[in-house]
């Protein structure tokens, strides 16, 4: 389906500066109208909880009695006496770095393969997206079960080839890589988005590059990537946020590793094995809702927010700079 620019022979010239001023006002009204629901919702459903969280972080709040002001005590505790917040922060940081890279690269790779398929495209596409359609707790359990070191199919197949698969989710060293594999398996959303963007790349650009003598790798680098860069940026940021808020899957996988898998992640056994799956949001939830230290949990949330928002702003600004440079060129 192609559209061509309508032929413009001549247009009535815009009457002078007066119209320009009124035009700007009208534009601002339009913007206000378009952004109004979002602005209102932002205030109520984000601004208010954010400010409340910041306020709570300076209090001791047990969720029932009114909060009592304690100044920076919670922050001091976070950096000194409380040992598990460090582990939780490390676990989440690990996931942010490793999971983001793997997820984007994997989604890009799979989308590329699908975009090249001629037959069975719909089937493969559906199959790749299927895991994302599953309720997260059940999907995680199924995945963890398949990786069971004794009777799971993965290790059984590896044994046939002579490789000792290891303990996967039951090993403190391998539990996070296993969680990454789980996340990759569930990255169907990103795959579909990237696939849509890949299919949007104008084929003439490929042909032009090919005529210029570019091989497949250079075509990919110079044609594909720039074309889908807004969507890739989305993928990177989305993956970062996904890793930062990795909650249900961590709890369910941990409880399965502890031998007491529960249906929805409301498990008493968190972080197994040896707190290697204790992610920051999980620890935050436990501190706030199991130990009733809501003030401390709020402080953790503020820290998370500051670090991640700061990092994302830098990233977006950097990418926009490079985007402008390319557009200018």
């Amino acid at each position: 389906m192609t559209t061509t620019l309508p032929a413009r022979a001549d247009s009535a010239p815009a009457p002078g500066r007066l119209r320009a001023g009124a035009g700007r006002a009208r534009r601002h009204r339009t913007v206000a109208f378009f952004m109004a629901p979002a602005a209102l919702g932002f205030l109520i459903f984000f601004g208010y909880p954010l400010v409340a969280t910041v306020v709570y972080s300076f209090t001791k709040y047990d969720l029932i009695n009114p909060p009592t002001f304690v100044g920076f005590d919670n922050y001091a505790r976070m950096f000194s006496t409380e040992p598990l917040v460090r582990t939780a922060a490390y676990n989440t940081l690990w996931l942010v770095v490793v999971l983001t890279v793997c997820r984007v690269v994997f989604a890009l790779g799979v989308a590329s393969v699908i975009s090249r398929l001629r037959s069975g495209v719909g089937l493969v596409r559906t199959l790749c997206y299927l895991p994302s359609l599953a309720p997260p707790a059940a999907a995680t359990l199924a995945f963890v079960f398949l990786f069971n070191s004794e009777f799971g199919p993965v290790n059984r197949i590896l044994k046939l080839v002579g490789i000792d698969g290891g303990l996967w989710f039951n090993s403190p060293a391998m539990s996070k890589p296993s969680l990454t594999l789980l996340a990759l398996w569930g990255s169907g959303e990103l795959m579909i988005i990237i696939l849509a963007a890949l299919l949007d790349v104008p084929p003439e650009q490929y042909e032009a590059a090919q005529l210029d003598g570019a091989g497949p790798i250079r075509r990919f680098w110079h044609v594909t990537l720039p074309s889908i860069s807004p969507v890739l940026l989305f993928g990177v940021i989305n993956s970062i946020i996904y890793a930062l808020q990795f909650f249900t899957q961590a709890i369910v996988a941990g409880s399965a590793a502890a031998g007491s898998a529960d249906v929805a992640g409301n498990s008493k056994y968190i972080g197994a094995p040896q707190n290697s799956t204790l992610t920051y949001p999980v620890w935050l939830y436990v501190q706030g809702f199991r130990y009733f230290n809501m003030g401390y949990a709020a402080a953790m949330a503020v820290l998370l927010f500051v670090v991640s928002a700061g990092f994302t702003w830098l990233l977006v600004r950097q990418l926009r700079k490079s985007q402008h440079q390319e557009e200018a060129a």
């Binding site: 192609t2 061509t4 620019l5 247009s11 534009r27 339009t30 913007v31 378009f34 952004m35 979002a38 602005a39 209102l40 919702g41 984000f46 208010y48 909880p49 954010l50 969280t53 709570y56 398929l117 037959s119 069975g120 719909g122 493969v124 559906t126 790749c128 994302s132 359609l133 599953a134 997260p136 059940a138 999907a139 199924a142 398949l146 199919p153 169907g188 579909i192 988005i193 849509a196 949007d200 790349v201 104008p202 650009q205 032009a208 090919q210 807004p230 969507v231 946020i241 909650f247 249900t248 249906v263 929805a264 992640g265 939830y285 949990a297 949330a301 998370l304 928002a309 994302t312 977006v316």
Partner: protein, 297 residues
């Protein structure tokens, strides 16, 4: 390096090189390689779902045990779950929740994404950054003040607290739609405005048809996220079983010290079925690309 243009007369579009055996061999290899990879990927992705289905038809004694293939086939498990829980009612609730949330998200996010991507106005970048920031705050903390708010309004026990936010602000949808809109060249909208359209008309008549894949994708993700949302409904509708969506029902096949995995997995499969159908039906509409010829490049 051989290129397609080698074989054709200059200026004409080269025909498919059926004559050259070496090239057709290359292409066949390529076909085999990509399709083998596709097949392998498909199988890998399918395996855990297969596990869910197989567990669903097992006797509970065999569920989550070392024997992976059902010793007996209890297809009636799929019916048993209906006896145990009013799944049709929950299905309706899920439909209401996801349907309304998706509609709300599109209604509120499309104009916002349009404003953020197609218009130029002061404070635009700040608003975009704020939208991104909204996704950074863990939901576990936002629920505390928000739950208070909804109790004060008196609407806990219903789906309203879950659906209402989508009619105002859904950061994910705004972000995704903005990125999709960015890939659509401004020129089409400029042309429409020169023709005398307002921004609103330009958005509705020109942008929306062209952005159909992006909008369909966004709708799909919003629907899916709300369909499988567990903690939100647990908090806001938990006390009122009439308003439970399917995701809560899945968690109800358990006792204090044991879980009926076969029924849980059966309920899971039934929960997945509608969205699978939705995806299969809708996928063509947002994966088929639009080509822009004569404008870019």
């Amino acid at each position: 390096m051989t290129t397609l243009s080698d074989t054709a007369p200059p200026g004409a579009r080269p025909p498919a090189p059926r004559v050259r055996t070496r090239q057709s061999w290359d292409r066949n290899l390529y076909w085999i390689a990509t399709h083998a990879l596709g097949l392998a990927l498909g199988v890998i992705f399918l395996l855990p779902i297969l596990f869910v289905l197989l567990t669903a038809v097992m006797k509970n004694d065999q569920a989550m045990s070392a024997s992976l293939w059902p010793a007996e086939w209890h297809l009636e498990n799929f019916l048993r779950v209906f006896d145990r829980a009013p799944l049709l009612e929950y299905f309706t609730n899920s439909l209401i929740y996801s349907g309304l949330a998706t509609a709300g998200a599109l209604l509120s996010a499309i104009p916002a994404a349009y404003a953020l991507s197609k218009l130029r106005w002061p404070g635009q970048n700040l608003c975009f950054m704020l939208t991104l920031s909204a996704m950074m705050l863990p939901p576990q903390v936002t629920i505390v003040p928000l739950y208070d708010l909804w109790v004060r309004i008196g609407l806990t026990g219903t789906l309203v607290p879950l659906v209402a936010p989508y009619f105002f602000f859904d950061a994910f949808s705004i972000f995704l739609l903005r990125q999709f809109f960015l890939t659509i060249p401004r020129d089409y909208l400029e042309a429409a405005k020169i023709d005398g359209c307002t921004e609103f008309q330009a958005m509705v008549r020109v942008l929306l048809p062209m952005a159909k894949p992006g909008i369909a994708a966004t709708a799909m993700f919003c629907f899916l996220f709300t369909w499988n949302d567990y903690f939100g409904p647990l908090l806001y509708t938990g006390e009122n079983q009439d308003h439970w969506p399917l995701s809560l029902a899945i968690a109800s096949f358990r006792g204090m010290h044991h879980v009926e995995w076969n029924l849980t997995m059966a309920a899971t499969a039934l929960t997945m079925a509608p969205v699978i159908v939705l995806f299969v039906v809708a996928q063509k509409s947002f994966v088929r690309g639009i080509t822009f010829t004569g404008v870019k490049g």
